[in-house]
Amino acid sequence: MDKENLVALYRQMVLIRVFEDRAAEMYAKAKIAGFLHLYNGQEAVAVGAVSALNPDDDVVVNYRDHGWALARGSSARAVMAELFGRATGTTGGRGGSMHLVDVKNHFWGGYAIVGGHLPLAAGLAAAAQYLKTGRVTLCSMGDGSTNIGTFHAALNWAKLWNLPVIFMVENNQYAMGTHYDVHSAVPMLQKAAGYNMYAEEVDGMDVMAVREAVCRVAERARRGEGPSFLNVVTYRYRGHSMADPDVQRDKAEIARWKERDPITRFARDVLLKRNLVTPKELEDIQKSVEQEVEDAIEFADKSPEPALDTLYDYIYQQPVRNMQIAGSLIRPPTVAKDIPTNGKHA
């Protein structure tokens, strides 16, 4: 990778970090409601993985998806506006934090039912195989999703049909608050071995390691060698969501992982060590990112809420006759004018 691209990886990670910190602030100010799952600590995973893919490869992830959307090219404005529930958001305020999407960038969405998106990823890969598009599907998930039925059903199917899909576990070692040793009976790689699937363990705090691993397995998939499995070991600095007081994790454990922070480590061990940037340039990047996120917040805050008359849009792609007689579709939405907006929820 040349200097420009390496610096771009750094900038993306910083953008995600600053974006998440500011999102937490906006949540505290009740600008954002519902559930908010932050990506702090895991930045190297999305940034490294996306940098290894072609622009038309398909990406499907879980609800901890802000970093993925930003890495895949959604603007900070659109993502922040979505968190604010505004018409200018990635889904016009329909999906919120957990359901970002950007299909033009082949980002097929954040999915919030644990494990629910794994079969969808296999299906996207099945379509790529059947239609001979040459695309690879990258499916990211948490370690908590590796015990549910769809995980096993999707891995079995992908191996059986030799599908071009990468199952990537962002193993932050906690399913909400439950540690891996309490939620899983076997080591992670053994789960892939059960389906005789090519697997690697990756340092998820090292953006280059993630990038190289995804490059390797994407090439395997493009050569027709089928699915693979990456156990990307990482850590999230904050609780499961903003609703999580994070009392169950050992503070010393969090501190230990922060010593391996992917952003400072990449700056120190790669960018500065190789004299690719000066400390001043890193400061400038930090400032420009802070400005970009501040601008996104202003944009989101000024954006209108979605128009009420769009409420029924896209329930169906293809309207059918007699839709107007279908119960709820006949009635225009009626909403009180003075409802509190963006109220904070538990």
Partner: protein, 327 residues
């Protein structure tokens, strides 16, 4: 016009659409070789006709639907067969949380043009294998739900469903697969969301669908001998619900019975009755009546199974009761 079975009509629809569109595939449990193709024979022979396009899958309904959704997102038109409606429960998350949500939640960016074919039904198979979930599917915004009663409707509606850009739950019925009816050789389509008169009459309106359309027609023949002429509205589509013909019929007969196979409480009959009385209260000469399945987990014993399900005689009894009442 040839008389063919409901099963054969479905197969012809699948064949014609596969010939027409190379992105149409059939995925499901035992759809290739078992018993010639399909647990109930609907896909028999298609795997040979369309190599690589009819594929057996693991017994993992959540993946059959989920992989189908993903493939539909990726540009295909999969027809996913779930062997019986009972097993759709394993895939309920995929159907409700994923198939039905994609288009609206992602603001139109994602479409899911897939068909989920599955039969309701019974046949001495006891509680876990003898169920009807029409109302469950019809409850969900984002799904289109179709339940044809005749070979003619089955063929025309399946072809339309495959061409539709939304997820369609296509509810067949085990007891209908062997029934026969006229189906033209030339191509035709039946639109989703349009109900149909299956019999004209002046005395009582029966609103029904699926297997109960056939039982209602049997009941109508018995009642005709007594001089009672029932009108039968076959909904054909359960979401969106087209009550326009039912409404038209009520204006004429002033009496309605909703006939459904599933459990009565919170059934589709309740929705239909409520909607009709909202729209036509002043036309009604009697409270809207319901014929439905008894609310018990289906027993295996022959006599108990029969007692649980509604048949023509229950429809006849309901019509008699309604005609005898003075209001």
């Amino acid at each position: 016009m040839a008389e063919i079975t409901y099963r054969e009509a479905l197969k012809r629809a699948l064949r014609e659409e596969m010939q027409r569109d190379p992105t149409v595939v059939i995925w499901g449990e035992d759809v290739v070789a078992y018993a010639g193709g399909g647990a109930y024979g609907v896909t028999s022979g298609l795997a040979k006709e369309f190599p690589g396009r009819v594929r057996d899958t693991p017994i993992a309904e959540e993946a059959i639907i989920g992989v189908g959704i993903g493939a539909a997102m990726g540009g295909m038109r999969p027809v996913c067969e779930i062997m019986t409606v009972n097993f759709t429960l394993v895939a309920w998350d995929q159907i409700v949380n994923h198939a039905a949500k994609q288009s609206h939640m992602f603001n139109g960016q994602i479409k899911v043009p897939m068909v989920i074919r599955t039969p309701n039904g019974h046949g001495r198979t006891a509680a876990t294998h003898s169920q009807n979930f029409d109302a469950w599917f019809a409850h969900v915004p984002g799904l289109k739900v179709v339940a044809p009663s005749t070979p003619y409707d089955a063929k025309g509606l399946l072809k339309t469903s495959i061409r539709d850009d939304d997820p369609v739950v296509f509810l067949e019925h085990l007891q209908l697969y062997g029934t026969r009816g006229e189906v033209p050789d030339e191509e035709y389509l039946i639109p989703i969301g349009v109900s149909d008169y299956k019999r004209r009459g002046k005395d009582v309106t029966i609103v029904t669908w699926g297997r109960m359309t056939m039982e209602s027609l049997k009941a109508a023949r018995i009642l005709a001998e007594e001089g009672i002429e029932v009108e039968i509205v076959d909904l054909r589509t359960l979401r969106p619900l087209d009550l326009s013909l039912a409404l038209e019929s009520v204006h004429k007969t002033n009496r309605v019975i909703v006939v459904e196979e599933g459990w009565r409480t919170a059934g589709l009959g309740a929705e239909i009755a409520a909607s009709l009385q909202e729209m036509a209260f002043n036309d009604l000469d009697a409270p809207i009546a319901r014929v439905a399945g008894l609310e018990v987990p289906m027993p295996y014993a022959r006599n108990l199974e029969r007692a649980t399900l509604p048949f023509a005689e229950d429809v006849v009894a309901a019509v008699h009761a309604m005609m005898q009442q003075q209001y």
